[in-house]
Amino acid sequence: MMINPVLLIAIPLGLAFIAVVFKKLQGWILAIGVAANAFLVFFVEKGETAIGGFKLPFAISLVLDDFSFIGVILVNVLTLAAVAVAFRKTEKYVPVILAGLAGLNGMVLTGDMFNLFVFMEITAISAYILSSEGRKPEQSFNYLVIGSIGSVLYLLGLILIYGQTGTLNMSLMAEKSALIGQAAMVLPLVLIFAGIAVEAKLLPMSGWVRGVLGNSNALTGVMFASVYSSAALMVFGRVFSQVLIPGTTAGVIIIVIALLTFAAGQVSAFRSKSLRQVLLYSSIAQSGLAAALFATGFVFPAVLVIINNAAGKMIMFSTAGNLEEKYGTDDYVGLGGAFVRNMPAGVAFTIAALSLTGLPLVFGFYAKLNVLAAYLNQGTFFVPAVVLAGTIIEGAYFIRILIKLWAPGKEGEWADADQSVGEKKIFNPAGTVVVILVTLLIILSGFLPDSVGKLVAPGGGLLGDEGPSISLTMEKGGDQ
């Protein structure tokens, strides 16, 4: 039995309102909501669904193709993981998390550019409220201001394109915008880029990330770095590789900004001493890489980078948030040997770090290999050079952290377990199970990368530049 995709939005949204009324049952409502969505996502009907009783292209539509299918799986499964790892921290935020989940599903599924704006705003409002968990209202306010500027710029860009194409439907806009001269598209594209860049954590709109993620806990860290970030990048991919394909000028602008984001993120991560800061700058870098790939048209490797980053950051941010809570610091020098008596968390963190760096036998290797192969096949050598240089920096800072967290004591001396910072449990039992499951997935998909590849791109695309099949063209409905 297949279900209507609108249920992925309606169920959490309805439960969010119910949770406001039945405060005592909030925990159950959240658990049921996120679990139901994570289960139902595998039974959603593919294709384009018109909403509201109007005919396409006048109706708002939801599009579930291979691309958005990956998006909704990431969003729903990772939200379930985030809630399971930090269930106790969700107490005050049940309606917010559920409304956010509705917004995220809407963002990934929608086939209408204005509806995308509405869902982005719903998601953003839930994100602003979640960020207030960091007890730094000025940082949440800063995030709100940057988000508001971004949304006004997005709306301005969108309305300029609407003025030229006369439609808000993505598939029709894709057809009509292809006929418009490149010069007329540069300004709207740059404005829309600025709007999406806020949630996607791309320069110059990523100013909020340090304040918000730098003060995150096991719940908010995973939500921002894994769930919101993945959805925003999938939207970036939808818009810039399928709807409004940038011409030469706009393409160069976006790719240069994305690569600068990647490079600046890696360098800033290398210079940071706090664990969460290293991770947040690493997230910015990964976003930059995925955005550069999308803007070049390499959808398949970009989706692999997003999956790799989402899985890795889920483990790492939940570990970092819990470490800070248990030991009162997230300066990794002060956390020497924290993993010695926390083997499951330590091993999971290590595997996630290796996967993000792109070492063999884990999923990240397959992702990085595809990134490099895509550019080298095209005959571009500059970008692979930047990616490799970034990877070396990435490897350096992750190894530095791993050494500190596994081996207490001074450099050059024998590390003894007694020198470690303590033996407080990093995860609760449910958290440990979730983290181990995600780690096993990273390892398994490292050994069987083709199966993940086929999930991302059933029509091929392994080690190539063909993306997931896309059904944004109304009449065709199926694969393009």
Partner: protein, 112 residues
């Protein structure tokens, strides 16, 4: 003309946001920007001597004279979202004042 005026409003709002560290004034700046973009959207759908886009037998109107109803629907949604953002911004402003005793961001301490 209205389009240029609305773009000017957006720029004034942006200047307001960037030139002050007072939380309330920043929120006013955001609102000015939002009004600017809303007027711009309405101006995009404007038709000189236009009519409301309602087809009726009693009052036949040249379809080409209809103003764009999509733009108006968008603005309604955009206004509601703007209201939500402003309300949330004011909550944060209140929290900042409660914690630091000031609305001035430059007096709230360090960056992180």
């Amino acid at each position: 003309m209205i389009k240029f005026a609305s773009l000017l409003l957006i720029i004034i709002g942006l200047y307001g946001i960037l030139s002050t560290r007072n939380v309330i004034k920043i929120l006013v700046g955001i609102n000015v920007m939002e009004i600017g973009i809303n007027v711009f959207i309405i101006a995009m759908g404007f038709v000189n001597d236009g009519a409301a886009p309602i087809l009726s037998v009693d009052n036949p109107v040249n379809v080409l004279k209809f103003v764009d109803p999509v733009a108006q629907a968008l603005v309604l949604t955009s206004i509601v979202i703007g209201l939500g953002i402003t309300a949330l911004g004011l909550v944060f402003a209140r929290k900042i004042h409660k914690k630091y005793g000031t609305y001035d961001l430059s007096e709230t301490g360090g960056e992180s």
